[in-house]
Each structure stands twice: as structure tokens, then as C-alpha cells.
Symmetry: none
Subunit: 204 residues, 2 copies
DNA sequence: AAATATACTATATATTTATACAGTATAATG
DNA sequence: CATTATACTGTATAAATATATAGTATATTT
């Protein structure tokens, strides 16, 4: 796969999030609204770049004719991918990150979810989340204070409690005295919320 | 809500197939082309009917703003009882103790198991076992030191680490500093091992 | 018998949307 | 140093699209 620029990654994520949220792809104007661009041509040029690099396909002439190419692994039926260590900059569900799949009935955790994340480290120990546990992750941007989120800060993936302290300040709080809070200033640092935890499985 | 006419089913299938094929929903004209209609209003009225019956959602004003509402819910695998507070003297799996059943594929936890136990209290907190968690219990007498066991001492059910200290002395150790070890002298006290924990599920 | 839902054709139109064209600016490349 | 890629604003417009309105016809329900 070719290299993607940070802005192009943002646009690609934006398309994925939009599709997850609405069920259909965004227009150029939608992308501008989401990312703060003021000209539809900003979106257009990014889309053309993403198409050239083969990340997306664009159906010429059709409205909303965007589809994502390197399709994230779909859980068909009841198979959910188990994602381990996520390589820096790599889309979470890219096939190289999937260690195996787990068969799990729909509605198992009350809420829908998208994949399992294998936990590394003990930073959420006091929330009963231990090393090697599998967290059921729902890809969503709808996060409330106190939710356990899967966050990406500068290509590092981490599981923490989410707390928005001010419009531009987010605290990612561990559940373990030996770890420190992570304060994220959204104006300085890019924070991407992959989703939130809706359940947990421990195999032993 | 439930009943769908054959034509409406055709339109619904058409939408699903179109999304699978292209990655984005069809326009009215696309549906007409696929199904041989000659007026876009044929598609429109079917879409409105499907929306009214809650099979799809339509984003007003947006092109291709169709999303499918009801994903298929399949029931496969096996039903396992969830056991809550076990009344004194009552057989664990008696029907009055089963709060509900949970559908869970065979081999989910590597090992077979027999039922889920809903955890009360925080005595195993440091082992990542929290209140309301579901422990997958395998009914067995083959216990090794260090296993997490479900034990019954004089009609009280408890979850603890198992440690045999002497032929007739068993220690049931909590994973929480605020709780004390339970020392059981098998000559004095009756100890029944229900089984051991082979997995854990948390719904949140 | 009347009202309602289904199942279409046909035409019209306001709005949405993709996309081209004209610029500005910066960083990397060869 | 010219070229190319990135990263934008701003404006314009042809084409795509949703959707309303006007009909026809059949079956089902009240």
C-alpha cells in the first residue's frame, strides 16, 4: 500500500465514519463541513489523491459515489475479528492486524459491536480489564464522560476512561494508580476515538 | 412493521445488492433500472412504504440517502443458563435460580463449560472479576492450586482462588486486600466444589 | 360502497452535487 | 531551478437527483 499523508488519512477516516454513521458516503460538501474546509474543491482534490493512491474508488458522475477500497474486514454472520497490537498509522481493521476471528452471537453484549481488541498492559486493571482480555469495541464517535474508549493519539492506540474537561481538553484516565492521566489538548494534539468498549471476554 | 409485500421485498433486496456491489445506496433511477420500472416514482412510493414499515431510513433531501434498518438476527450455538444468587440448599442449576439464558457458541472459551454465574461482590476484584460479571463455570472436581473455583461452604456460594495447603486444609483466597482468606478444615467443615472458572463475560 | 393500500406510467422542477476553472502558498524532488 | 505534489479558497455550472403532481388500475379492508 502506498503512503498516505495525514490530511488524506483524515479525509479517509472521515469517509469511513460518515458511512458508519449514516449508511451512505458523504458528498464533497459533507467532507468540508466535517473537516472545516471552506471550498468543495478541497475535498475534491483529496478524493482524487486518495483515488490515485487506490485507497478509494470514485464512480464518475454519481453523487456520493465514493467507496473505500482496502475494505476493512467485515464480520459476516457472527465472526468478529480479534485485533491485537495495531501498527502505527495502520487502519485498525486492516487484515494484517487481525490475529483471528471469534464466533459470537449478535446482540451478545446488548449493544452491537465491530471487533475485539486484545488488551496490552494493566492500565485499566482497577476497571477489571486485565492483560490479554478481549474488549468488544463499538466503532462510534458518540462518547460520554466516563465511557471506556479506544483512542489513538499520534499513532498509539490506548484504552482509557474518557473525560472531556473543557471544550478543547480531554483527559484519558487509567484505572490504575501506577499510571498517570493523559491530558490531550485538541488544539495541539490529534486525538482520534476509534470507539468505545461495550463488553469484555476473558479466556482462561 | 412485520409484513412486507413481494414487490417491497424485491426493492429492499435490490437496495442491499446495490450497496454490496457498489458501496453506496441506489438512486430512484437506479432502482428503476434494476427492476425494470419506467417511472422514478415507482421506486419512490416503494421507498416511502418501506420507510413507513421501518425497513429503511431515508435522509430527506440527500441523494442516495437510503440506509437499511433491520440487520438479520441469527440464533446459533447453544443456550447457557445464567445463574444468579443461589438460594441456600438449592441445587445450583434448578430452574428457579436461572435468571435467563445466554446464547454462546461451543468452544467459546477454549474449554467446555456448563453455566454462567453472575458475580456478587468485589472479593475477586484484583483478578479482574467485577460485580455483575458472568463467570463461565465448568462443573469439575479436577482443581489445581491457583484455579478460580466456585465453592459452596455450608450453603454459601463463593468465588475464590483455590489452594490446598495440607491434605485436609484448603485455603480460599480472595483477590482483594479488604477480604480475608477463608481456611477450611475438611474434617470440620463441608466444602463442595461446584466447578472452576474457565472464562468471563462483562456486558456494559 | 367507500376508503385505503398497492403498483405502476408520465412529466416537471427545485435542489443537490460533481466537477471544471482560476488562483495562492508551501514543501519536496530531481 | 524548474517541476511536481500537497493543501487550500472561491466561483460557476451542467448534470444528477429527490420529489411533487396528475393519472390508471387492482386488490383489500371497513
Amino acid at each position: 500500500m502506498k503512503d498516505i499523508t495525514p490530511q488524506q488519512q483524515k479525509v479517509l477516516d472521515c469517509i469511513q465514519v460518515y458511512i458508519n454513521k449514516t449508511g451512505f458516503p458523504p458528498t464533497r460538501a459533507d467532507i468540508c463541513r466535517e473537516l472545516g474546509f471552506k471550498s468543495p474543491n478541497s475535498a475534491e482534490t483529496h478524493l482524487r489523491a486518495l483515488e490515485k493512491k487506490d485507497f478509494i474508488s470514485i464512480e464518475s458522475g454519481a453523487s456520493r459515489g465514493i467507496s473505500i477500497n482496502n475494505p476493512e474486514i467485515k464480520h459476516e454472520g457472527n465472526e468478529y475479528p480479534i485485533v491485537g497490537l495495531v501498527a502505527a498509522g495502520s487502519p485498525t481493521l486492516a487484515s494484517e492486524n487481525v490475529e483471528k476471528v471469534l464466533n459470537c452471537p449478535k446482540g451478545f453484549f446488548g449493544s452491537d459491536f465491530d471487533y475485539f481488541l486484545r488488551v496490552r498492559g494493566l492500565s485499566m486493571k482497577d476497571a477489571g480489564i486485565m492483560e490479554d482480555d478481549l474488549i468488544a469495541v463499538k466503532k462510534t464517535q458518540e462518547i460520554k464522560n466516563g465511557d471506556i474508549v479506544i483512542a489513538r493519539i499520534e499513532d498509539e492506540v490506548t484504552v482509557k476512561y474518557f473525560q472531556r474537561s473543557a471544550p478543547n481538553i480531554v483527559h484519558l484516565k487509567p484505572a490504575n494508580e501506577e499510571f498517570n492521566d493523559i491530558e490531550v489538548n485538541l488544539e495541539e494534539t490529534e486525538l482520534y476515538i476509534e470507539g468505545k468498549s461495550v463488553g469484555l471476554i476473558r479466556e482462561n
